[in-house]
Symmetry: C2
Subunit: 505 residues, 2 copies
């Protein structure tokens, strides 16, 4: 990619670091209206902490950093944080889309740049931003994006929290024809597609054979996202669509495909068996050890080719959730030539492709003599002794890999790392004090549909209705703003009383 190093300045437009008091993009603190007056934001001589990304890690860092001690600058193509555990609910209309997002501008940041960080000049401490003028909430994963003009933003400290992209394993047709479920725009695209399928199937001109093809809903990937979407979709079809289109019910089918021998590998055998049993009783088929090799459009439906099977499987929609791959920025950064002027390069984790950090989440450099890749768990490995810290640059979440640990790529890890780092930076102007990041596992939880969920933690396991109550209250408590803490139970009540609206937004 062009523009790394000195050339990052070539756009000729920048926000000046030396004149922070006159920077144009200054925002006053956002406080709830009529609760307090807007506070002035004294900007003199505070460090510019630039955060890349507004996901679990970036948003948590932006919330936790002290506005009194630093200038908080966020760069992200999305002007919001998506509360990912509720996306499946919004995709079937249990919740409004807005309930699953938090606008970053409400954090009262010193600057927010809506765009993609496309390069970093570590020696001059500059980030190149390609503006995102077009898409926002409406944008769906893996759809083409139009980039606007480029400019540079200076930093004193940099937190890389850009997360990962969806993994498609290079399977033909998946980026074009599958739906993903990673942002509010994705949830909206899924919702529109489901309701359009139903409307098409309902036409008097549609044959029964075509109805069966269209009303086959396929989920690829048996992790929590895929399973939860299948459960929510079952609720939508059973509770709402069946009442309005009773003639279509006999054609409904949901299938979950996974390449592994079992779904929900993070759950113990008892809970996984409960999930499988719940799905069986709900009529959701789970097909494991299936490898998809192609996805193509055929008229109004999609055709799925599965390795070792003669016939393609038709479907109306394919929701894809099979894991993660590194963000293009991370690939660019680990190839940055000589980031600190000492002939070294950013250390890359061999397993995940992410950026290697130490236990203080500081980005690590490899010596010039060691050009090989590092093991992410290289704690007891000779190569790790050669890494040094890249000053003032941190990485958190899915795009980072802590030396000596193998944290899962989950929201919990990302948010906890970001909070740890922001508190470190709040307390220690000169960098982390050396106390390492420690992950506290809150357990895993998945909704299965039909008012049933499963929850597993180190303390206990829960299943069924009790886990469902825990699931709802946990998300309510962890939902981020007052606004959504009010609105989410309102939406749940309205859905309970009146059902889901099936208008196509």
């Amino acid at each position: 990619m062009d523009g790394v190093g000195r050339s990052v300045l070539s756009t000729g437009v920048g926000v000046s670091r030396t004149t922070t008091t006159t920077v144009r993009l200054t925002y006053t603190a956002r406080v709830p209206r009529r609760w307090a007056s807007v506070s002035a934001n004294p900007a003199a001589h505070k460090e510019r902490i630039v955060i890349l990304g507004s996901g679990w890690a970036g948003y948590a860092a932006a919330r936790t950093l002290s506005a009194a001690k630093s200038r908080r600058i966020l760069i992200s193509p999305r002007s919001h944080f998506a509360f990912t555990p509720l996306l499946a609910s919004t995709s079937v209309g249990t919740l409004e889309f807005r309930a699953a997002l938090e606008p970053v501008r409400r954090l009262g940041l010193d600057e927010f740049h809506q765009g993609w960080a496309s390069a970093v000049d570590f020696r001059n401490k500059l980030v190149r931003v390609d503006a995102n003028e077009r898409g926002d909430v409406s944008a769906a994963t893996n759809r083409p994006q139009t980039k606007g003009p480029a400019y540079t933003v200076p930093y004193d400290k940099l937190i890389i929290a850009v997360g990962c992209h969806s993994q498609t394993f290079g399977i033909e047709g998946v980026p074009e024809h599958a739906n993903f479920l990673r942002d509010v725009g994705d949830a909206r695209a899924i919702r529109l597609r489901i309701l359009q399928i139903i409307e098409t199937a309902n036409l008097p001109t549609t044959t029964d054979a075509e109805r069966a093809r269209l009303l086959h809903f396929v989920v690829v990937g048996g992790g929590p996202t895929g399973i939860e979407f299948a459960g929510e979709l079952h609720d939508l079809l059973r509770d709402d669509v069946a009442r309005m289109y009773p003639e279509l019910v006999r054609h409904f089918a949901i299938t979950v495909y996974d390449i592994a021998p079992k779904v929900l590998p993070m759950f113990g055998p008892e809970l996984a068996a409960y999930a499988t049993d719940t799905f069986r009783r709900q009529g959701i088929r789970v097909k494991t050890q299936r490898r998809l090799t192609r996805l193509r459009r055929d008229g109004r439906s999609l055709m799925i080719r599965i390795h070792g099977e003669d016939d393609e499987v038709p479907a109306g929609i394919v929701v894809w959730s099979t894991g993660l791959t590194q963000n293009p920025l991370i690939k660019t950064l680990v190839e940055s030539p000589d980031p600190d002027g000492q002939g070294r390069s950013i250390a890359k984790d061999a397993r995940t492709g992410g950026i290697v950090t130490n236990a203080s989440l500081q980005v690590q450099l490899q010596g010039s003599a060691q050009q090989g890749e590092l093991g992410g768990d290289g704690g007891g490995d000779g190569t790790t002794t050669t890494t040094t810290t890249l000053k003032d640059v941190y990485a958190t979440g899915d795009c980072a890999s802590v030396q000596g640990s193998k944290y899962p790529a989950t929201a919990q890890v990302a948010a906890q790392q970001a909070v740890y780092l922001a508190k470190q930076l709040n307390s220690n102007q000169d960098g982390p004090d050396g106390r390492p990041f420690r992950f506290r596992n809150w357990g895993v939880m998945t909704y299965l549909g039909g008012w049933r969920a499963i929850h597993q933690s180190t303390q206990n396991n829960l299943k069924g209705w009790a886990a469902w109550v825990l699931w709802r209250s946990a998300y309510l408590t962890r939902s981020m703003s007052f606004r959504n803490r009010i609105m989410i139970p309102v939406y749940w009540s309205v859905t309970y009383l009146f059902g889901r609206d099936i208008s196509r937004f």
Copy 2:
């Protein structure tokens, strides 16, 4: 248009009238969940009353017709009724889009066909439907639509309530570049455009000159829709955008253009002066006696040419609300060859182009000797004596013109006509009893922004905050479903407390 008369059957697919008990598209009644069990719907030997359109007239007719006495069949490209007075509020984010719509499927109709009625075979009592598989709520006015397969639907009685399209006077560039405000999809398109303009203006690469061009918000048409949108837009800019983008405030400008000498012609001089004065204090410019001749895109902004002015006026968005023109179906119907086999044609109102009805809202035919057009107020005119009634066909709302009356093309007239007609059909199986439709004027009401409104009726005039309270409570009372009666005050409260969300949906 093809397919009128016998050829309407040429699609070869139809819903049989003679076997109503086995028609595929049968829906059971939709009742609030958990409040009652789903009731069976005995379908034998009831008349098929087909309603074309789901606007104020069509929706009111569908709600009022007795499910016990008739089979209610609705044909409309939209699966919802849009509560038009709240569209301006949704376009600026005061309300969620869903609060301004009512899904027609909740009415428990016997059949709903989502598509355009493109022709009517009056002699064989068949409607041709072009299915709408693609757009729904997301569809915006005057944007291209993809039509799906065609099929026919039989009727015993037909209510034509297709409404009007937006009038653009053939002005170059208006259909492509202007935004309309007639449906929820339009409100969404306006909202996305406004927030995108602001984001673009906020980029550090945007010049101040371009900011001024982009942040000029133009409304064309000084009727209640245009004025109310200008007022709501002012609230959004002043209450919410100004807090998050304080540097942009000095560039904001709103201008309302009208070709007439004054805006809000339906209000008396005192209230109109109050509106103009309120707008002046809010900084909204009102420019009357301006005729637009062209609209074109120039880079990121639009350029407006005004008759008699040398320079084009730049704008970021142009919201167009200048009146109505007949729906293409109405043009097709008034040209139907020989609808009753007696060599006559459907009577067309010379002023509006709509279908002429008698005071019972029955569609009128002109004798073959009188091929001329009829005056809509032809009560004292010799030509009206030549009209006869087309049996079992009714027209209501904006597409109809009652002989001897000049009702305004408003929601009130449309809804009252539809309720009158549905009650007539509920009581009189053999057609109307001759008691004529009478319009009861509830007065007119317009929101001006800044918690001020105006209200004028035959009894009294109200302005300011008192009118605003009336405005809110009137819409709340008239809002159609329990769901929205609960949600609208919730949204108002949340907006009051936390401000409007400016995420781009």
